[in-house]
Symmetry: C2
Subunit: 337 residues, 2 copies
DNA sequence: GTTGTTTTGTGAATCGTTTCAATTTGTGTA
DNA sequence: TACACAAATTGAAACGATTCACAAAACAAC
């Protein structure tokens, strides 16, 4: 039913090989032949069958990307970066989300292997990397994203969260803040504890700065609001003059509460800094100072790294780790007193 | 290099046909043969080649979905619904975004055709549906999503925005509000003008209700804030007692401004209702009443409709339109005086 | 007109899976 | 033991694009 190269060849009065050449290497074909074949293609409405192409080629022209949650802007930005890089190599990115379910992650991995993708970028759900090891042994390159692989055998692309935490608190100190609160949790999340570690490092460098931790059950607006309530319930002398939130959602929660009439003024009485620089950060009532991660670039570099590994072939499974530095974005929610 | 069914067959001492049967219809194969073949598969690390499968089948097991923006929760929810439905039919959804660029949209469409997808769901960038017509004529079913097709030849799945607007204002009237503001724009967006139309209809049904329109340049938090500023700048007697915002972002902007000390109390002095019921709506300082669209279900139904059409084959290009009703979600931002 | 060189065009073989008609094996009954 | 019938297995053909060794044509130089 569908039109094939053979049909086109017959219609144009040439051989199938020539049709294929017109499609792939038109400069190797006489100009008038190209025109003739193109005309036949247009007339018949021929559409290449990608499955046949891939079968012959042995590999698809795509890269798999498995993220934890497609609704998270962090991952969509990352995906966009990956797509942009892939396009440079005339490839495309297949996006899949695991929903943080190991089972789904596995299913997507199998799907990608069956598709014979050039490689897979993944933010693993758990620490069990066995399935990825197997896939790699079968010849599918793997790159971990947003995770420093404990397992040194996997290449990875990640962000230096310790540096981000340091950067945030350093900024607060530089604008003269002395009583700082870190709002975030749980500490079991590596990102959170790393950010706190960076914060502590900045505090240790300077005398006369205090750092208090308000632990949160999760990184949500609601938890941020709880932290805020806890702060404004205190007598004025016990209140901090700055809050470093483990992410922007928590920061926005703190802000909502503090801007109530009985709260504190931002940034004068309380300077506030978040983390991630999500889109909503800049549209908050007081534009939020935040730490931005080079999300787009991470996607780009991850793809480049993946293709470099694929290039190597079976020979030497070269392992590389790329760590990005975050960036301070100063807006209205932080200022000197 | 890669392992094929032939290798598995040799290793297991059976024919390729049997290996295929083990893979696809294990109940047609003797139990001990299945075990034998499975062992060989595991030992060799055989992974099915999907390209070859598809080539033989003539069609892929996927459905294409082209959305305007993957970052928009509306579309990710829709995609999720589509995925869920597809899974029922043992199919998968390929998600692509056009970024509202006609050229990209076209590229994705071609890609999908080359992949021999079962069909394409699309929210078209422009009114020019010519490329989709061509694709459909070549045998790829098309369903428009979130657009009532002016062109009656395309099947579609959409939401009744007039009903949503009616529902919102009806609710405001029922809780005793009389001076209502509609904040939103531009009116060139069909969704916006439809919602306003619904609002006007509700107002017309009751005596003594006024409806004022504050035009916005776009549906953003910033524009909502501008609308809010305009309201609280007025003397108390000239202020409305309710605002219906054309979407949640605008509503959140209005809320941010009104909650300032010199503003109005929500919901007492001012009741506020948004549209879309985005995730942030429920985490606002005052949880936002909103109109929810059955996004997930739209995705589900779109897939079902698509597959029904595909079922028909070339015979009769059956055309169907499904229109969903939105739903009122009452939270804290609306109440009686 | 012959020879050498480059440019175009040819078509059979190939990729890996599924299908299906034909064949073999197995089971139960007389 | 023979026969009928069901269950299990076989293997060649097919899907459609690409490749590549080879052939044909076109052109240039003498």
């Amino acid at each position: 039913m569908a039109i094939s190269v053979r049909d086109v060849a017959k219609a144009a009065g040439v051989s199938v090989g020539t049709v294929s050449n017109v499609l792939n290497t038109p400069n190797k074909v006489a100009e008038k032949t190209v025109t003739k074949v193109q005309a036949a293609i247009d007339k018949l409405g021929f559409v290449r069958n990608d499955a046949a192409r891939q079968l012959r080629a042995g590999k698809s022209r795509s890269i798999g990307l498995v993220v934890l949650d497609v609704r998270n802007p962090f991952f969509t930005d990352l995906a966009r970066g990956a797509e942009d890089a892939a396009q440079e190599f005339n490839m495309s990115v297949l996006l899949a989300n695991s929903d943080e379910i190991a089972e789904r992650e596995l299913a997507m991995l199998s799907l990608f292997e069956e598709q014979r993708v050039h490689g897979v970028l993944v933010t693993p759900v758990s620490d069990d990397l066995e399935p990825f090891k197997k896939a790699r042994d079968r010849g599918t390159p793997i790159v971990l994203v947003d995770r420093k692989s404990k397992d040194k055998n996997f290449s990875s692309v990640s962000v230096d969260d310790v540096a981000g935490g340091y950067m945030a608190v350093k900024h607060l100190i530089e604008i003269g803040r002395k009583k700082i609160v870190f709002a975030g949790g749980p500490m079991s999340i590596q990102q959170v504890s790393d950010r706190l570690k960076g914060a502590q490092k900045a505090v240790a460098e300077q005398l006369g700065i205090s750092l208090e931790v308000i632990d949160c059950k999760s990184l949500t607006v609601l938890e941020g609001r709880a932290a805020g309530e806890q702060i404004i319930a205190r007598p004025k002398t016990k209140r901090p003059d700055a809050v470093f939130a483990a992410n922007d959602l928590v920061a926005l929660g703190v802000m909502q509460v503090c801007l109530k009439p009985e709260g504190m003024s931002i940034p004068k009485e309380l300077s506030l800094i978040g983390y991630d620089d999500i889109a909503y950060a800049s549209t908050a009532l007081v534009a939020l100072t935040s730490i931005r991660q080079p999300t787009h670039e991470m996607g780009t570099k991850a793809v480049e790294l993946l293709l470099a590994i694929a290039e190597d072939g079976d020979a030497k499974p070269r392992v590389r780790h790329i760590e990005f530095q975050p960036e301070l974005v100063i807006r209205d929610s932080t200022s000197a007193k």
